[in-house]
């Protein structure tokens, strides 16, 4: 699977009088894993909607690979970009979970071949034959995500993919994204969940008030308490542990912290 470069050049966007994006320049290379963070109202979701032609920028240019998004419709963009919306219920409709996940691939003229494996990947194998609304709400979110993954896009855009999920579900999402990024898919995730960001992203683009406030490698930004505070964020647990114990290598993934802690001597009882 080959990913695409996503490039945003001098993009501005306004909802009527209110400017939501004030000149964004951003390039995400094929196979990169980028997290988009920032306070509510910063323009993160607005920016992602421009990438799939749901809205047109009032100025500037957006390209996905060699496609100029301005010349495409959203259903055409679906051939390259998979967009996982924050609220799953706005798209589920089929009689069974499996049918719903197969909808996207069918629209694109592909068969149902990949559906079963995507369902298993997200732990949905057991509910494949249930009606989507007979499945609890967090699992419905995974069904919607499965529907997007089954389309095998070159670029994945996800809006708050882990909101409301439990630990096991979150780890499945992280694993699914890692697998695809390793295969070259470009991943862009909007998220408040810095624990998820630490596991899934290599680069963090922070937005504030319609502009890019900072664009740094994840390993650097997640250890910069001040920069995070300026964005209204706290370091994720892994970075907090790393900072408190002075662990070498700025570990941000759970397994990295565990490795760094191997050989630690522990006190028996809490003080």
């Amino acid at each position: 699977m080959i990913g695409c470069e996503v490039r945003v050049t001098a993009v501005r966007f306004a909802y009527g009088e209110r400017e939501a994006l004030r000149g964004i320049d951003l390039a995400v290379g094929a196979g990169e894993r980028v997290a988009l963070v920032g306070p509510n109202g910063a323009g993160k979701t607005t920016l992602t909607r421009l990438l799939v032609a749901l809205r047109r920028p009032t100025a500037g240019r957006v390209t996905v690979g060699d496609w100029d998004v301005a010349t495409k419709r959203p259903d055409e963009m679906a051939r390259r970009v998979g967009y996982a919306f924050q609220h799953a219920d706005q798209q589920l409709f089929a009689r069974t979970v499996a049918d719903d996940v197969a909808f996207g691939p069918r629209c694109l003229g592909r068969g149902r071949a990949g559906v079963a494996s995507v369902l298993d990947e997200l732990g949905l194998g057991g509910v494949a034959d249930l009606h989507p609304y007979d499945v609890p709400a967090p699992a419905r979110k995974l069904v919607a995500l499965a529907g997007v993954l089954a389309m095998e896009p070159a670029v994945l855009i996800l809006d708050e993919p882990t909101a409301g999920l439990d630990r096991v579900q979150r780890s499945r999402v992280v694993a699914a994204l890692r697998r695809r990024a390793d295969a070259g898919v470009t991943v862009l995730a909007v998220s408040h969940d810095l624990g998820f960001v630490a596991e899934a992203a290599d680069r963090i683009v922070a937005m504030r008030e319609g502009r890019v406030a900072t664009d740094r490698p994840a390993r650097e930004l997640l250890y910069d308490r001040e920069a995070l505070a300026a964005l209204g964020l706290r370091p994720p647990t892994t970075a907090q542990i790393g900072m408190a114990l002075g662990l070498p290598g700025s570990p941000i993934r759970a397994h990295e912290v565990v490795d760094a802690l191997r050989g630690t001597r522990w006190k028996e009882m809490p003080e």
Partner: protein, 253 residues
């Protein structure tokens, strides 16, 4: 377009029962009145009603769009296929009494739609609930009525989000009739299913807040009524009854 639009017009400030009574009178009048002069007075009254709410432009535009298919149908049925005498307009031969009939029927439909849209645009669901609560109407009924007022804007919002989600999955809009028909499922079903799923939660949340309580609800901010408005509502009732009486008397004679 369709739904409450906040404002400060006389209709907005009137007691919700008054606004609804005016709209109701226009609606019922449209069924009772059949003569051209009567109907055009009715349409003029509907326009005045809408103007007094400050929503004439938007309501007229929506009313036009909504009643366009009906007007077209009326002209085809009565104008093209009606009785003699006929007149020629360009390449078309139109029936004169047919056109007259189409105008009258179209006028009645337009008055109804305009009255309905104006009532929706100028009746705040909140004020209506307060008015009904102050009158002692049980909450179940007020909620049902007020929710129907807000259901259209909510559905529209939801429908827009569903459209986006399905397009991003590759659903192509437009195309052949079969393609459009096939697109109905992915567009309409989430609308209904999503709404139903939310209703479950909303019912629980509202029940927890006493919506099913048998006690008489306290009206916190009942809209002010006046004897003038009450008299107006009584007068409208008399007017409607008179209109029907007039209609039946004419039919007999």
């Amino acid at each position: 377009m369709i739904g409450y639009v906040p404002g400060a017009s006389p209709l907005h400030r009137a007691h919700p029962y008054t606004t609804l009574a005016l709209a109701g009178a226009l609606l019922l009048g449209a069924f009772a009145l059949t003569q051209p002069l009567e109907v055009w007075l009715l349409v003029a009254a509907a326009v005045a009603f809408s103007a007094s709410g400050g929503v004439l432009r938007s309501s007229a535009r929506t009313a036009f769009l909504l009643s366009l298919p009906i007007w077209a149908l009326l002209f085809v049925l009565h104008g093209l296929l009606g009785a003699d005498p006929r007149t020629t307009v360009g390449p078309l031969s139109l029936s004169v009494p047919g056109i007259a009939r189409a105008l009258v029927l179209g006028g009645r439909v337009t008055a109804i739609v305009l009255a309905f849209l104006t009532a929706l645009a100028t009746t705040s669901p909140h004020r209506l609930v307060e008015a009904m609560t102050a009158r002692g109407v049980p909450f179940g009924r007020t909620f049902l009525l007020a929710s129907t007022l807000t259901v259209l804007p909510r559905m529209r919002e939801r429908a827009a989000r569903i459209l986006e989600a399905q397009q991003c999955r590759g659903l192509r809009l437009g195309g052949s009739a079969i393609a459009r028909l096939r697109a109905l499922g992915p567009l309409a079903l989430p609308l209904v299913l999503g709404a139903l799923a939310e209703v479950d939660e909303q019912v629980l949340a509202l029940d927890a807040r006493g919506a099913a309580s048998a006690a008489r609800r306290t009206a916190l901010d009942p809209p002010p009524d006046s004897s003038a408005q009450r008299s107006l509502r009584a007068f409208l009732l008399v007017l409607v009854v008179a209109a029907y009486g007039w209609k039946f008397w004419r039919m007999r004679g």
